[in-house]
Structures are given as C-alpha cells and as structure tokens.
Amino acid sequence: MAIIEAHDLRKTYHSRSGDVHALAGLSLTVPEGTVKGLLGPNGAGKTTTVKVLNTLLRPDSGTATVAGVDVLHDPEGVRRVIGASGQYAAVDEHLTGRENLEMVGRLYHLGGSRSRERAKELLEQFDLTGAGDRPVKGFSGGMRRRIDLACALVNNPQILFLDEPTTGLDPRSRLGLWDVIKDLVAQGTTVLLTTQYLEEADYLADDISVIDHGTVIAEGTADELKAQVGGHRVVVTLVDSADADAARAVLERHGTDDVQQDTGGRTLSVPVTEGPGALQHVLADLASADVRLHDAGMRRPTLDDVFLRLTGREQADDTASELEESA
C-alpha cells in the first residue's frame, strides 16, 4: 500500500491581484520505502503540495493520507511519524544549534536526556559539532539549512518531507546530504522531496512527478520520463565545417528525425532509435566519406530535456545547449 496518498487536492489563494490556483486537482502516491521527487518550475505548486501533506496547510478540497492517517482529520497523528524541512529554514535564531535540536526533541516528547543525546548525534552527523553551541544567528546559509534538516530527523521519522533540501548548499555538503538521505532510505524511510536540481532527482528519486500549474503533468522513473522525450541522439563534431553537408547526409540516413546543426556549423546531431548501433554505422559511413571528426558520441536526454519539454518553458530547438554538452 502507498504510504503517502493524495487525491484531487485543490487549493486556491485569494490575493489582491486575483485568484491563484496553487493546486488544481493534484493526485500523488508514494510507495513505502521509496523516494519521490517533485519537479516543476517556480510557482508550480510543489511547496503547497508538501505543506498540505505535512499538515501545515488545509486544502480547499481533496483527501490525503500519510502512513494511513488522514491528514485533515488527524494532523497530530501524522505529525508523530513525519519529519519536515521547509523551503526556508525554520530554526530559532537566538538558540544555539544544539538548543534548537533539544527543543525539537522535547516537543516530540523524547524526554530531556534522550533529546540531549539525539542533539549530539545529529550535530555530529551534520558536521556541526564545532558550531553547535553558537546561536544560529551567526550561522551561514548552508549551516542553517543543515541544522534545519537535522531538526527534521530528530524523531527518526518514518516519512520525511524535504522542500528543496540542498538549495544553497556547497557541492560537498550537497553530496553529504545525498548520502544521508540514501542512508535513511536504506533503513526504510520514505522521502518526498522537491528540488530545482534535476541531477538530484535523477540520483535520489525512485519516482518523479513533474508538476505544473498545480497538477501532475508527467510521472515515472527518471528513465521512463527520458524515454518519453526521446531516445538517444548521435552527436558529431567536425574538424572542418566544409564537411558539414557530407556529414548531414550521413546523419539523415541513420536518424529518425531532422538533423540539428549548431550555429558554428561544426556540430550536428540527430535522434536515433538504437543508440550504439546507429553510432557505429554513422562512424563507418563518415569514415568512408572521408569526413574528419573532432569528437563523436551519443547522448541520452537529460532530465533537463524532460523538464523543459514537458513544462513548455522552452521549445524543442534548444540545440545549442544540447550540443555543447556533447562536444
């Protein structure tokens, strides 16, 4: 059974400049022990979705259960089994990192000594032992983010909600956090996370839901979503742009769609059905046509392609960036 289930959630914000349909019939299921990634452009409704599920926000209509508990009827029951870290760090500036963690432990009713113990463990786990006894006011953005995440883990939650957990973290902290999340998942924690980093969703999420305008517009594993956008492309970069016409003819013969050429004219690409085989044929044909190559390869669509294609924020002829990556 799915451990998180949301059905037809709707939420409209009334503001002076008009109504905003933040959620317009959004449904979601997350199986136990998996990581679900929510992707979507700014304002898509990711934060609103998370807030409904972690009991911060009541939807106008729709139903949701977390660990079998109804979010609307028994929010306290939900709060006992979840940990949540919002898009903006919610920690007390005037308390030290350790005091923040202890406070959260006490409010989970762990008791004084267990709360102190847990605070110590988490400070170590998040590399904050040195700074742990300074007021959070003096923390850097990344340290604040980490103490906020640590607060979400105090009760060893069964289900974890993370809204853009790695925004603002340096690469080392980001990788560290990815490890922490992988570890929790290995122990059976279910995670729902939103992110702006597609490689993060690719690395962490078992399943991804792409959200736009308050509804899920695509769902599946990263591979399934990529397949939806298209298979492999063969990409070649020529030594001499004078060979471009010859190369184009070869690519057209093996491709399934139009050949795209970058502005300099030296890099060409074409979608193909079966990547490795097509690449071999293209290389053989180019060799017999005496076309000299600077670089050649194939590339699979990235989640960026998926994102841009599905949310329509950019049209398909974003060849310049595509080809740069393969060059």
């Binding site: 006992r80 920690v91 998040f126």
Partner: protein, 287 residues
C-alpha cells in the same frame, strides 16, 4: 557529513511518546515549559529587550518626579508616591505588547511552521509566549520599584498588601498579553503591532489617573478617565501600596471598587482571549 551514525529507528521514537504512558496534561505542561524556556533564552541573550521595556518608564519617573514634580500637587500626599503606581501600570501595559510583537515575528520568520509540524499542542506556543512575557514583566516591575525607591517612593500598607498589589499588576499584564498575542496573530507584522499599540495605549495612559489626579483634567476627559480600565488598575495598586494620599476617590464604580474591577476585568480578558487566540492561532498558521 558522516553517514554512518543514524541509529536504527526504534518504534518508540517513531510512534508513541514513550514507553511509560504519560497523561495528556503532563505532556501539555511539558510543551508549555519547553516553549517558555525557548522564549526566556531569547531574553537572556538579548538584554536590550529588557532595557527597552524599562527605558520609557524610567524616563517618565525622572520627568514627572524630578522635572514636573514640584508643580504637580497631590492632596495630602507626596507626588512621587502617587506617581509610581501609574508608572508600574504603564510598565506592564507596554511590556505586554511584546507578546503581540513576538507572535507576529515568529509567524513571519517561519518558526511557527516548525512548531506546527511537531506533535505538540498548538496552545503551548501561546502559553509559552505569555508565560515568558510574564517573567519579563515581573523583572521590569522589580527594576521600576528599585528606580522608584531611589527617588523616594515607599509603600505604606505592609507586605501583604504590597504583594497583593504586585499580584494584581502581574495578573493584569498576563491577561493583557493574551489580547496582544491575538492581535499579533491577526496582524502578523511586528512593526505594525508596535506602532499601533503605542498610538492606542499612549493616550489611554495619559487620559487616566496614572500621572495626575483626574479632577485636574477637562470635564469630558475626566469622565473618560474615571471609567478607563487603566485608571482602575492604577487605583487598585495605588490603594494597596498606600500611595493615594488624601486625594478624593472619584465617584464611578471602577474607581470606588478598583481591586474588584481589575481582577474581574483580567479574568474576563482571560476567559475571552485565551480561547479566541488559541482558535485563531490554529487557523492563522495553516494559511
């Protein structure tokens, strides 16, 4: 970040509050204590909060007792003695506005979002707020009493009556904290709370018996002052401290029965505003 220290999840931590069944009431009291502790830490780390709470009343003490003192006459008494009850009233009244300011601040900074994802009782956030502000008000009153003593203020009705006066001040301040807390939840902008409460409370304390006998005021204002709840509070404290001199007691119910009026008014504020604030807090934080 090390990745190997996460302990295996125990059913205890994930599920029920603990191995021993604990009564809901003691869980609630624990939540209140935790939030109170959190708020008191802020006071300890930011002594300027206390400084600002007593700065204005201290300036008033100096202004009224030292600068204008000679020109204000109290029948059969000494003006400094008369003045201090007004100063104490002013101190706790403005001190309580901090509850509103800080509720708005917490809502704004997202701290409330953290509390709201924890399995704690919603009302503990508010009780923790008003409790901490009661402590702040208590400390402010002590500082003001020391300041008063320095310029010659004394109480004259014995310790029991003195303690009753302090008790009434604190009861009123606690009840008024709840009114301000509700405003903080509704308004949500700390600066607005500060400016608005200043603009409303400042005239209220001036059109009262806090600094002068009300029969010195213009007729219309005198009527208002004799019904002003702040006058009742000040009169109650003034009587309990034996600081009224021989000034005649105005002929209105609150002024004739100031202790009864103040206690009843405080209990009424609590009865109305505690449930109102708790209810409003539940909705406000789930926007």
């Amino acid at each position: 970040m090390s990745t190997d220290t996460a302990p295996p999840r125990s059913t205890e931590a994930a599920g029920s509050p603990g191995p021993v069944p604990v009564s809901p009431l003691s869980l609630w009291a624990g939540d209140v204590a935790t939030v109170t502790w959190r708020n008191l830490i802020k006071f300890r780390r930011n002594p300027e909060i206390l400084l600002f709470a007593v700065l204005q009343p201290i300036m008033f003490v100096l202004l009224f007792s030292q600068v204008y003192g000679g020109s204000i006459q109290i029948e059969g008494g000494n003006y400094t003695d008369y003045l201090m009850a007004g100063i104490f009233g002013q101190t706790v009244l403005f001190g309580s506005t901090f509850s509103g300011y800080q509720m708005a601040q917490d809502l704004k900074e997202g701290m409330i979002d953290r509390f709201r994802t924890l399995p704690m009782h919603d009302s503990a956030v508010l009780f923790g707020r008003t409790n901490a502000d009661l402590v702040l008000n208590g400390v402010s009153v002590v500082i003001m009493m020391i300041s008063g003593a320095v310029v010659g203020w004394r109480f004259h009705e014995g310790w029991l009556s003195f303690l009753a006066g302090v008790g009434i001040l604190l009861l009123f301040s606690y009840a008024f904290s709840w009114v301000m807390a509700l405003l903080g939840i509704i308004v949500r902008t700390p600066e607005v709370i500060n400016n608005a409460s200043f603009m409303i409370l400042f005239p209220l304390t001036f059109i009262s018996n806090a600094f002068v006998q009300t029969d010195n005021l213009p007729r219309a204002l005198e009527v208002f002052a004799n019904w002003n709840p702040i006058s009742a509070l000040v009169q109650a404290v003034r009587e309990l401290f034996g600081n009224t001199g021989a000034a005649p007691t105005p002929d209105t119910f609150p002024m004739q029965n100031p202790i009864l009026t103040t206690v009843a008014m405080s209990l009424l504020m609590l009865a109305v505003f505690v449930p109102l604030a708790v209810n409003r807090f539940r909705q406000a934080s789930s926007r």
